[in-house]
Amino acid sequence: MSAGPADLASRRRALRTAGLLSGVAAGAWLGAAEAPAKLVSTGLSPVTVSLVMVCGVFLARWSLPALLQGTSAVGADVKQAPHLIIWAILAGSLWSIANTLTVYAIRDVGLSIAFPLWNSNSLLGILWGALFFGELRGATGRQRTSVLGGTIAMCVGATMLALASTHEAAHGSAARGVIAALGAGALWGTMYIPYRKAYLTGMSPLAFVTFFTIGEVACMGIIALTINGASVTATELAAARGVLFWLMLGGFIWVIGDLFQQYAAKYIGISRGIPLSNTNQLWGLLWGTLVFGELRRSGVSLPLVVAGSLIMAIGAAAVALATTGDTEHDQWREAAEREARRYDVDIEWVRARLVGTASAPAKRTWIDWTLVAISTAVFVFLARQAEAPALAMDLRWVALLCIVSVALLAAAGWNLWRTTRFN
């Protein structure tokens, strides 16, 4: 790169803004993804619910990259760093097992205990980021305190929200539930190693998620077949035709949030990006409270909800304001160059992609339009079979939250496109 120090500093500022906006949008969309799942109240087993959502995720993970950049861009990235396919599949498998563990954790100890336990994933992510990728190394004491303090505050806020807004009884062994929740947190926290590895090497998040989802859907399929068996899974799927659309829509919305989370991890690092996108709990609470009237039930502590939300928001602000200094950026660059040497990736390509610059403009082919058409056709087909939700909703709040979410999507998406062309 021939950019001078002033250009580099300005580029880093622009990337930080893109990363921060992505983190905020990720929280909103990951939180909104819970809404369609709330509309489903059938006798489906949790594993089948996860499997259907992952199918929606699969469609979204192939069609959105095709629409935004084209599969040729995905192919070009893979050609530069083919080793990352294994890392992406590994990350997808970690996600599937962690997601299924949360189902059992909720069953055994309830969401109020399980959620704070698996929410510790951001702390583990910070540990791996510092240990392996030079994150927070070279940061000032104030920046470190901001990130760590903010993340811990967010965990405390999340715990308070979980305690205040859930009161389901535990049904199983407490020790088993706690181990399942801790296991989910550990797996999600460790999933950020492949994330960071891919983004330090310069891969576009759109390319990474395309292969991530292969691990995700394959592992989820194996889990469903192992735990439920083929006949039970097939019977449940056939009986649930009316709700498949809502579950897959939840998966689709979740992918939009996850894509923003990936961009946040790339441009502000996992130590800042992951805590920011963990604000999804706040957004989930907003949907639950305002749209589905969940706080009107008895036994919900409003002061605890308000205090937990405030603490979480303050924690998120502290993380967002802990800007990455030049020394820390240099550490990231060194880690990226180590990756390039180890995996024999073109160092100039890595350097360029690390700062979000594209070598060639994206082109879309008939393959991309076919993928988009297939995905759209599946959703239209399922939507025609979908049953209207029986759950009461406040449509005014649905409209308002949708407007806010779309506004965040537009702002973060526009900024990402302008700054990085989705690289």
Partner: protein
Amino acid sequence: MRPTRPTRPTRPTPPYPALPRHIIPMPKSRLLPILSDIQFWVPVAFLAAGALILYWVSR
């Protein structure tokens, strides 16, 4: 007048120039760098442990 200090023999500083590839053809393995990377085995170990925990809690 101060005596001039003897100059030290200069040594080549790293990185040393690499030998042209056509002299020493190196077979490239895509798998070896992954398998020798500790950062690969950490998620693999967690994945294995997670699968065992899942097997245990789902029984």
